[in-house]
């Protein structure tokens, strides 16, 4: 997993409250392998493409937003389905961070597990940043995970909270399974005791 430390990139505003994971990637693409060369197109597909496959005027299709690697979104980003394909579609487009006031819980966790940084800023701050991004197309945002700080297009700083363990995961690009297996002895001890006390489960 690619570590996330300090990252600067063009950002795109997505002004859709409650943007569910069905919008991020429609269900009909869920059987595709994530290394499918078409995967990048699946992101926000039905907002970005007409039924005849031609592009809509959706902001992510517009230059210079096409280069964006950071999304700035509205409330409840990624609510709904648990599909990790939503994160795969973001990653296929080289998106490395999403900033939003609130995230769907499962989508948030899926982002973390793939090294994609979800940043929670207040609704007012997200709104403020989105307005700036509309006014200055192609403007960049810098995110410093170690300092837990976002520097907006106007160079104003915004601090954010993140779970300490999630931060370590992202800073070092750690894979969960290997991290868990560091606790192998404790897991085995727990299981021995648990199986003995809960015969009705096994």
């Amino acid at each position: 997993m690619q570590p996330f430390r300090r990252f600067s990139a063009v950002a795109v505003p997505i002004d859709i409250p409650n943007c569910d994971t069905d919008q991020i990637i429609p269900a009909r693409f869920l059987r595709r392998a994530k290394d499918d060369p078409a995967y990048a197109r699946f992101l926000l597909h039905d907002l970005r493409f007409h039924a005849d496959d031609t592009e809509t005027s959706f902001i992510f299709n517009q230059i210079p937003y096409t280069n964006a690697q950071i999304l700035v979104c509205d409330i409840n980003w990624g609510c709904g389905s648990s599909r990790e394909a939503a994160v795969n579609a973001l990653m296929a487009n080289h998106i490395r961070a999403v900033i939003a006031p609130t995230f769907g819980d499962i989508h948030y966790s899926n982002c973390i597990k793939n090294g994609l940084l979800p940043v929670r800023l207040s609704a007012a701050n997200c709104n403020h940043i989105r307005i700036q991004l509309h006014e200055s197309p192609g403007a960049s945002i810098t995110i410093d995970l170690d300092k837990q700080a976002v520097s907006g297009p106007d160079r104003k700083g915004y601090m954010f909270d993140i779970d300490p363990m999630d931060k370590i995961r992202l800073l070092h690009g750690l894979d969960d399974i290997s991290m868990t297996l560091e606790h192998q002895a404790e897991i085995e001890a727990f299981e021995r005791d648990y199986r003995k006390k809960n015969r009705w489960i096994f």
């Binding site: 069905d22 709904g80 363990m165 399974i177 404790e186 897991i187």
Partner: protein, 471 residues
């Protein structure tokens, strides 16, 4: 974040704490996971784990059934047209044969939607931790089970280690008191709750449902409530086990028996939240005020009663919500002020992990009896066992005589990737759980309703108060 508490615990905490293997300083806990359910869309997990040299730690605690990619006209694998749909279902079957976990294939009478099959087989039990790579895993909370939906990386983590890292969520209790009106159902309760707390109202919380109206519901009704918890943003929607729960569980194929049953009971009796337990948030809902409910927008929070009109965004003070309402009305092709019972529909879908159990089908059949559908109507049972029970009771004849289609079990038109799909612009009265844009096919317009309301829409061609039609 959490204030110091007394020793009293909530139902959720009791189960959570019992499964903690280690806790990190940050508050992250490594939880032991008792059971995992898996469906066809996760078939690649097995080869991906194999590719990095990992094995399945507890195949005995893993239960699989294909549901998302199963055409409702197919009875066996070779009935599925060749291509990615068949490959997906075959992929799960091959993994099950190679690794040796339980798999209810399409020809097995126990086959069905994973969230219908789990409780039906007694795989879901009170006091367990249960996960599945599907957000509607909250369903199993209705039995007092700590169940939650996870992503595919977490699916593989559980397969390889039988554990998962979690932070204890905040706690919310939603108490629904009062008597639910005649002809209303659990679906109307949960839609009303989501309308009340909002689609993100439960984000970061584990919800416990309590109150007399919840106690009065059957276990199947409770599953409808827990199922749609995720539509309010919460991963967990748990209900304390009571006598009804134990009665439901007893004698099911994977439930404990004899001495083991007694051991389990001793634990289950201690599970309900302590009287002095403190919740981070308390919500109260009056069941008596609930009406048959219909969603009108692209988030389940946008719903109204059958006697209401489509709300006017102009009367919404919050500008962001107003814009959200306006875009939903455009997509749904609806005008503010339109009476809900004047909205014509094109299709009806009765099914999904929310509403495809036998009681749901009975409620729909009550309305269909002696009437005929005026729009194409699909009735899809949640499992092979639900299907055969419905046929034993003659419900299939009622559906077929009314002109509805009676199909094989699966997720069908809830996720619409099995061939059951709406055409662009079509308006559907659906008993499923999501009215998102494009959920039932590109350009589809979904209105979420109860089984009785879906049946009433099917026989009248528009939203109709089902209480006027019940026999």
């Amino acid at each position: 974040m959490n204030a110091p508490r007394s020793h009293s615990k909530t139902l959720f905490e009791k189960i959570f704490d019992r499964h903690v293997i280690v806790t990190r300083e940050s508050g992250d806990a490594l939880l032991f996971i008792d059971r995992q359910l898996i469906h066809d869309l996760h078939y690649r997990s097995f080869e991906e784990l194999q590719a990095v040299g990992r094995t399945i730690r507890y195949p005995d605690q893993l239960f699989a059934t294909p549901d998302h990619s199963v055409p409702t006209t197919a009875k066996k694998l070779t009935d599925i047209p060749q291509g990615e749909m068949r490959d997906t279902v075959a992929g799960l079957q091959e993994a099950a044969e190679r690794i040796g976990f339980t798999h209810f294939d399409m020809t097995d009478p126990r086959h069905g939607i994973v969230h219908v099959v789990g409780p039906e087989q007694g795989i879901t039990l009170p006091g367990l931790t249960l996960v599945c790579g599907d957000s509607h895993t909250s369903t199993h909370g209705a039995l007092g089970c700590l169940s939650f939906g996870i992503g595919s990386t977490e699916v593989k983590h559980v397969l390889a280690t039988q554990t998962l890292w979690q932070r204890k969520p905040r706690s919310m209790r939603i108490t629904v008191d009062g008597t639910l009106g005649l002809g209303l159902s659990a679906k109307d309760i949960i839609l009303t709750i989501i309308r009340h707390i909002g689609a993100a109202g439960g984000t970061g919380y584990a919800i416990e449902y309590a109150g007399s109206a919840i106690r009065q519901l059957s276990i199947e009704g409770r599953m409808t409530i827990s199922n749609m918890t995720i539509e309010a943003g919460a991963r967990f929607g748990i209900i304390a086990p009571d006598d009804k729960t134990l009665e439901y569980v007893y004698g099911r194929p994977y439930a404990p028996t004899d001495e083991k049953w007694e051991e389990a009971m001793a634990y289950w009796r201690l599970l309900p939240s302590d009287d002095t337990a403190v919740f981070d948030k308390e919500i109260n809902i009056n069941a008596a005020a609930i009406e048959p409910t219909v969603t009108w927008g692209n988030s389940p929070q946008f719903c109204v009663g059958i006697s209401d009109v489509i709300p006017d965004p102009a009367s919404e003070a919050d500008l962001a919500t107003r814009a959200n309402m306006e875009s939903a009305l455009t997509y749904m092709d609806l005008l503010p002020g339109t009476p809900v019972n004047k909205i014509d529909i094109d299709r009806v879908f009765i099914g999904s992990c929310t509403n495809s159990r036998i009681e749901d089908l009975r409620q729909a059949a009550e309305v269909f009896k002696g009437r005929s559908v005026v729009v194409p109507t699909l009735v899809v049972p949640g499992s092979g066992l639900v299907k055969s029970e419905a046929e034993r009771e003659g419900l299939d004849r009622i559906f077929i005589n009314a002109g509805a289609q009676w199909r094989e079990p699966g997720c069908s038109m809830c996720v619409a990737i099995n061939g059951d799909v709406l055409s662009p612009g079509q308006r559907c009265a659906s008993t499923s759980n999501r009215n998102f844009q494009g959920r039932q096919g590109m350009g589809s317009r979904t209105h979420l309703v109860s089984p009785a309301m879906a049946a009433a829409a099917a026989v009248t061609g528009r939203f109709t108060d089902s209480r006027r039609l019940s026999s």
